[in-house]
């Protein structure tokens, strides 16, 4: 029996929830507003800011002044590249662990998880040194590899939890009907695994896009993604609120949109299946 909810209670809930949500969301909302103002107006008191004229000037300035496009495409290459490489390695691994489990499967999964917990700062110098030795410093290739490796445990885990939900009987039935391993993967497994793979891709693109340790330390002008580009605003010259806001808005917009679609996957991916 569902409990009848009084309209009054619902109104109170709604008012309270919207208040909380607006407070939490406010900094994001505010930078979007500031990004459409002139530098002079952006530092005024909030009410004066709102009544000041709107302009897209800052977006134009950010684009031409600091190679925004280059950093944006770096972010795109790094997050998509590392996710794609990660999938290439993780799909077979997760498939075999989900469908041909052995006594050691659980241990391997737990061990993979433990590598994710290695603090980056503990291996800072070795990675830096290896990057210098291999000529990978400030290259996209180097960062794609590092980002792939740090997210690989999450990719394997997420795929594993999705694959495990695919009933094994269907695969057996396909085998009985004479499907070989290749056909089994191509025609039976893949279509059923697509939603899980898509969710995994989504979450990992987000994680790689926002990674802000290795991308800050291992890049300079050339391979730096948006995280590094925005960090360069930490030593500002003169008025820069509107430009910072415009650059920030452009940097977070794609991920905010992806984020809308990935709320559920976020929980599963980041808790390693411990909360569903």
């Amino acid at each position: 029996m569902a409990r009848a909810v009084t309209t009054r209670r619902k109104t109170v809930n709604t008012a309270l929830a919207w208040m909380v949500a607006v407070i939490i969301f406010f900094p994001i909302l505010w930078i979007v507003v500031l990004s459409f103002k002139t530098e002079g107006d952006a530092i005024k008191a909030p009410l004066e800011v709102l009544s000041a004229p709107w302009t897209v000037e800052s977006y134009a300035v950010v684009q031409e002044r600091s190679d925004y496009i280059k950093h944006f495409s770096n972010s795109l290459i790094l997050s998509l590249g590392s996710t794609f490489l990660g999938l290439l390695v993780a799909v077979p691994a997760a498939w075999s662990m989900a469908f041909v489990p052995s006594r050691r499967t659980k241990d391997i999964l737990m061990w993979m998880l433990s590598t994710k917990m290695l603090p980056a700062v503990g291996v800072l110098y070795p990675i830096y040194l290896l990057f210098i030795e291999l000529g990978l410093l400030d290259t996209r290739v180097g960062l794609v590899i590092v980002l792939m490796l740090i997210n690989l445990p999450i990719i394997v885990w997420m795929l594993y939890t999705y694959f495990r939900e695919i009933p094994g009987e269907i695969l057996e039935a396909a085998r009985m009907d004479g499907a070989g391993l290749r056909q089994e993967i191509l025609y039976v497994l893949t279509p059923m695994a697509v939603p899980g793979i898509a969710s995994t891709v989504l979450l990992n693109v987000i994680l790689a896009w926002n990674e802000a340790f290795w991308t800050l330390i291992l890049t300079a002008a050339n391979a730096g993604p948006l995280t590094a580009f925005i960090a360069s605003y930490s030593s500002p010259e003169g008025l820069f609120y509107a430009k910072l806001s415009a650059a920030s808005t452009m940097a977070i917009a794609p991920i905010l949109i992806l984020g809308w679609f990935s709320q559920k996957q976020l929980v599963r991916g980041l808790t390693f299946g411990a909360v569903k």
Binding site: V121, Y125, L152, S248, L256
Partner: protein
């Protein structure tokens, strides 16, 4: 019913992932361990030989060590308390019927998708700047003296920024757990005369216990290695030098690789202690 053939195929398919992660873990970690027993100053003489446990002793006896432990604990505990308590309250609120639930949810979760450098810089300048920042304008509007957050109250300021980033994560996970709670159990308790507080403490909190533990453990692991937020706001000044940041400074700024590596080993051990507890919970779930 897997055949021998499919078993060896399975092993082959697992190999690339295992080998890559093994290399990623073992190679740098061995190097860090190696450097931690050396006096190694790339800019001032290079490799100056083995020094035993000297670096480990010097790292913990340096004047910067205990303040960094305090800073780390303050940040981690502060963020955990704020995000878990507010997370539970907001999750309870979002679980209620209301208008526009979808939009509310998206707004609450949004900060999680903002990259750390953006959140840190936006808070530092646009929100917390005492002269032009939003909070500065606000405090002046009510007739008070604005606070220069990041130098006068640097630790609370950074705790606030990091809590803002992680509150969505806590809320989302607690909300997910809350939604799996059996409604009939709550209704039965209500009919038996349990008030809202009794229902909260004796039904909801025990049901959420596992999710809360998971939130605490996962956040602890990420919070211990907070970097960008400090890097772009205070640069480790004003008492905000955490253990992670101290190690970063030893390695990158003072180029004392031996000392920094010893610190790195401490960080690895610390993270492992937390990880053991997390793995136990995740492992239990794997059996079910």
């Amino acid at each position: 019913m897997a055949t021998r053939h499919s078993r060896s195929a399975a092993r082959l398919m697992m190999a690339p992932a295992v080998i890559l992660l093994l290399g990623w873990m073992l190679v740098p970690l061995t190097m860090t361990l190696y450097f931690s027993f050396k006096k190694y100053l790339p800019m001032r003489g290079g490799d100056l030989g083995w020094v035993g446990f000297d670096n480990f002793v010097r790292f913990v006896s340096s004047s910067a060590f205990w303040p960094s432990v305090t800073a780390t604990l303050t940040l981690v505990l502060g963020v955990l308390v704020i995000t878990v308590i507010l997370g539970i309250l907001i999750a309870l609120l979002l679980d209620q019927p209301m208008w526009g639930q979808g939009v509310v949810r998206i707004m609450v979760i949004a900060p999680f998708f903002v990259m750390p450098t953006v959140s840190a810089l936006v808070w530092k300048n646009i929100m917390m700047d005492p002269i032009n920042g939003f909070l500065g304008h606000l405090t002046r509007a009510v007739g008070l003296q604005p606070v220069d957050w990041l130098s006068q109250a640097s630790m609370p300021a950074i705790t606030l920024i990091v809590s803002w980033e992680w509150l969505p994560f806590a809320t989302l996970i607690l909300l997910t757990a809350l939604q799996s709670l059996d409604r009939e159990q709550l209704e039965a308790a209500e009919m038996d005369g349990a008030g809202p507080f009794a229902r909260f403490f004796f039904i909801m909190i025990p049901h959420l216990a596992r999710a809360i533990t998971v939130v605490i453990l996962i956040q602890t692991i990420f919070l211990l290695s907070i970097f960008a937020e400090i890097f772009v706001t205070t640069g480790g000044a004003f008492g905000t030098k955490t253990l992670t940041y101290l190690i970063y400074q030893r390695v990158v700024e003072s180029q004392n690789i031996g000392l920094g590596s010893a610190g790195g080993i401490y960080a690895v051990i610390l993270a492992n202690i937390v990880a053991i507890f997390l793995m136990r919970i995740v492992g239990k779930n794997l059996e079910a």
